[in-house]
């Protein structure tokens, strides 16, 4: 059983105090107005009580200054809340540049987490203290929502799209991880824990997992198995554009529009290549829908990310070619 009633959640990320301060402010403002109205109503109700029901009230019909006052003042107060809340929101949705990335897929009824070094875990996520972590995820079936209350972050997992959350843990320990979007029978069982560890313990944990291949290496393997390599030659002489150093830059499409090559774009290039054609290329790339699963797509993305801007094979590819497991976390700046 529980001792005492918990009233407030743990603050375990850099975002948590920001969200909580806003929460206290809004609570204070709303409590003030609630009390104001309640007190006014009660005082009037008692003071002007008429037990007979036979008297009539004063002939008062309204007051323009009052109406304006109690429209305009609440409006400005609510705009203050709006502005503050929007600032906090942009902190929540905008990840910093340097993040440690973890991929995840939600599936009824479990969360699978894939570290870029290769470790995969189910319903558990190990992360180091003090590093900004970014979880990039999608769903393999219906909607889910990845929610970590101690970090005050949440986003829906939507099939066919990537969502992401980021947080910097500020406290070592274990924290809840919930599915917040109803997904059927065992929705309330689609939970797990986030384990925040000291950085050195995290390193030990990473190398202890020993699952072998990093995501980029796995991606490279797929790149060959699926025949991508036949069209996407590194020097650009193939039927498709070279993918070297493409990640993160602007691409011009056949329509003339430009897009940033990010996770979603690469994903779409693989699954629905005809939707956004690169300028100067015909619609020859086949769809890989059904040939590669969500984890495979994520590995391919990680591989594309790992490709260096200049020529020469990427570090991850070398490691895998030698058959050696990547030991160091090979996340790159985005």
């Amino acid at each position: 059983m529980v001792s005492g009633i918990p009233l407030f959640p743990e603050q375990a990320s850099t975002l948590a105090p920001e969200v909580d301060n806003l929460y206290f402010f809004v609570t204070a403002v709303t409590a003030f107005f609630a009390l104001l109205v309640v007190v006014v109503v009660l005082v009037f109700a008692v003071k002007y009580r008429d037990r007979t029901g036979e008297k009539v009230g004063a002939p008062i019909h309204g007051s323009l200054p009052l109406e304006l006052g109690w429209s305009i003042i609440p409006f400005f107060i609510s705009m203050a809340i709006f502005a503050w809340a929007t600032l906090v929101f942009f902190h929540i949705v905008r990840a910093p540049d340097q993040t440690l990335e973890v991929y995840s897929t939600g599936k009824r009824w479990m969360w699978r987490f894939q570290h870029i070094d290769g470790q995969a875990e189910i319903n558990e996520l190990h992360v180091p203290l003090g590093r900004p972590i970014r979880v990039i995820f999608t769903s393999e079936d219906v909607l889910h929502s990845l929610y970590m209350p101690a970090f005050r972050v949440k986003a829906d997992a939507i099939p066919g799209r990537y969502s992401s959350i980021w947080f910097t843990p500020t406290q070592v320990g274990e924290f809840h991880l919930f599915c917040a979007e109803y997904c059927g029978t065992r929705h309330s069982g689609m939970i797990g824990r986030v384990v925040v560890m000291e950085p050195n313990e995290y390193q030990a944990w990473l190398s202890g997992g020993g699952s072998g291949m990093s995501m980029a290496a796995r991606g490279e393997q797929l790149f060959q198995q699926l025949g991508c390599v036949g069209c996407h030659l590194p020097d650009g002489s193939g039927r498709g554009p070279s993918l070297l150093g493409k990640y993160g830059i602007q691409e011009t499409l056949a329509t003339g529009a430009t897009v940033t090559i990010d996770d979603t774009y690469v994903r779409e290039s693989i699954l629905t290549p005809q939707m956004k054609l690169v300028a100067g290329y015909g619609p020859v790339m086949p769809t890989f829908q059904g040939l590669v699963n969500e984890q495979g797509v994520m590995s391919l993305i990680e591989y594309v990310k790992s490709l260096p801007r200049t020529g020469g094979p990427p570090a991850a590819a070398q490691a895998s070619a030698a058959g050696a497991p990547a030991a160091a976390p090979a996340q790159g700046p985005r």
Partner: protein
């Protein structure tokens, strides 16, 4: 009271066969027909809620299976939203009172009014059948692709029920709108209309413009589920979030279908028992219209974490704050109405006090959810559950009961026990707060909604909540008891037991089948208590 003899001919006794009820075109009888169906749906929804609350007294999922639990909360939501909250005030109280209040003999299209009821009943029967043959488990929001592909419960049957019931809502809206335009008694200018009528007018607007969208959405869902059209399922090339946009484009305004009419009721009852004109009549009237119009522009505040762009989230957050202002204006005007009134503490007024308290909390906690930075954490937690119950139950249902207690003597010609009416209001108020206040805390702690089992640390608050729900149950049962008892033993009410100013109080109770012996002529505003020679009768 001048007369205590029950009138000889009333709309109730003019004919008494079952057929005379089932074929009636009298708006007053149709109101009662709705009352019967809606009360049954309320009972049903209440039983489902009891199942949910019993399950949640322990952290383990041990009272019912996970699948049963999911069906319980879904059917609770479906029954309460589509068959109680949306019709309760407009279709029951609106039907009964609105034509009387504007001095009309009936609504503009009496036959369509009866048709609306049948359409409503047919929709309800479909939904009931879905519930009897295994239920439905998608949540009342029917989110895709779960509802279109994954769920193996009666989604189609429920969808058809909701779809059909929607037409009843559209027809009622049209009927009321035309009635208010065309059927007002001589002298009943727009600005002499009781505020309840203004609220119904605004509601009709939402019903007419919004309901077709939910009908189309449910139809698309049915096409995808039954025939594999790829509208919402990404595997078929659809977009699951599109469903949420369409669903909330109706369902957010639907919140105003549920709350505007009770707000109108509050204005009526408050004016009557303060013996005063409503403070800022035109501001209260126009705030209803403002809410109805701006209510259509905030739907995406349900999608802040559903992958919409941060900038559109910003716009919808801004508009959501803006739509809160007219509700705040109403509340301030109600409070100001009490100033220098002659406040008569009768049962309906106690319900109004309860409404103000709960609606205040419901409205103000909406600001938390409109705040982008807070909504990320609060979305889909018990905070949201608590918030909308404060609005829907604390607001809409309290308002409905305020109205029912207010017009009951007019509807039946009998008085209920004032003491019990007051007691019930207080029980419901206390029970309600005990049920739902802990859920705000649970939500901020991070307990997600629609959870069959939950971590242990949330138990104490959940037990409190379930205890409160029992109290609520007792309160509602009590109401049914004394109201039914009043039909047998209640004192005769007389034409105007509250000394109210509205036209509905100028005719006998229960009214004549044709409402008024002669068409009334209106010479003053709705709430001219001050012009009265201090004492009525």
């Amino acid at each position: 009271m001048t007369t205590t003899v029950l009138p000889r001919v009333t709309y109730l006794n003019v004919r008494t066969t079952v057929a005379s009820w089932l074929l009636t075109k009298d708006h007053k009888r149709i109101g009662i027909l709705y009352l019967l169906v809606v009360s049954f749906a309320f009972l049903l929804g209440g039983i489902f809620a009891a199942g949910v609350r019993i399950e949640l007294t322990t952290p383990e999922g041990d009272f019912v299976s996970a699948d049963t639990y999911n069906r319980l909360f879904t059917m609770h939501g479906v029954a309460m939203v589509f068959f109680v909250l949306i019709p309760a005030v407009p279709a029951i109280l609106g039907n009964f009172a609105m034509p009387l209040m504007i001095g009309a003999r009936d609504v503009a299209f009496p036959k369509i009014n009866l048709l609306s009821w049948y359409v409503f009943v047919i929709g309800f029967l479909f939904t009931l059948a879905a519930m009897l043959f295994g239920g439905v488990d998608t949540g009342w929001t029917f989110y895709t692709p779960y509802s279109s592909q994954a769920s193996n419960s009666n989604v189609l049957l429920t969808g058809i029920g909701v779809f059909i019931a929607g037409f009843s809502s559209i027809l009622t809206g049209l009927n009321f709108m035309v009635t208010i335009h065309r059927m007002r008694a001589p002298g009943m200018t727009w600005f002499r209309l009781p505020l309840f009528v203004w609220a119904l007018y605004a509601t009709s607007l939402v019903q007419i413009l919004g309901t077709p969208v939910i009908a189309i959405t449910v139809l698309m869902l049915a096409l995808e589920r039954a025939l594999g059209f790829g509208i919402f399922d990404p595997r078929l090339g659809g977009d699951p979030v599109l469903f949420q946009h369409l669903f909330w484009f109706y369902s957010h305004p639907a919140v105003y279908i549920m709350i505007l009419p009770p707000m109108g009721v509050i204005s009526e009852v408050l004016a009557c028992f303060s013996r005063k004109s409503i403070f800022g009549y035109s501001f209260v009237a126009f705030s209803s219209l403002a809410i109805a119009v701006f209510g259509f522009l905030v739907w995406a505040h349900h999608l802040f974490v559903a992958g919409i762009s941060p900038y559109s989230a910003m716009v919808f957050s801004f508009l959501s704050f803006a739509v809160a202002i007219p509700s705040a204006v109403k509340t301030f005007n109600w409070a100001a109405t009490l100033y220098r009134g002659a406040i008569w503490w009768r049962a309906p007024m106690i319900w109004v006090f309860g409404f103000i308290g709960l609606f205040l909390v419901g409205g103000l906690t909406g600001l938390f959810l409109a705040s982008l930075g807070l909504d990320v954490h609060l979305h889909d937690t018990y905070f949201v559950v608590a918030h909308f119950h404060y609005i829907m139950v604390g607001g809409a249902i309290m308002g409905y009961f305020a109205g029912l207690h207010y017009w009951w003597p007019k509807i039946t010609g009998r008085m209920y026990s004032n003491g019990l009416g007051t007691l019930a209001a207080m029980l419901v108020f206390v029970g309600f707060n005990l049920t739902f206040f802990p859920q705000f805390i649970l939500g901020y702690l991070g307990m997600p909604r629609r959870y069959h089992a939950y971590p242990e640390e949330f138990q104490v608050l959940n037990v409190l909540s379930s205890a409160g729900a029992s109290l609520l149950g007792i309160g509602y049962t009590l109401i049914a008891c004394y109201l039914l008892y009043s039909l047998w033993k209640g004192e005769e009410a007389g034409a105007n037991p509250w000394g109210a100013t509205g036209l509905e109080w100028k005719t006998q109770s229960p009214p004549l089948p044709e409402n008024f012996a002669q068409t009334p002529i209106v010479r003053e505003g709705a709430y001219e208590y001050a012009k009265r020679e201090t004492k009525v009768a």
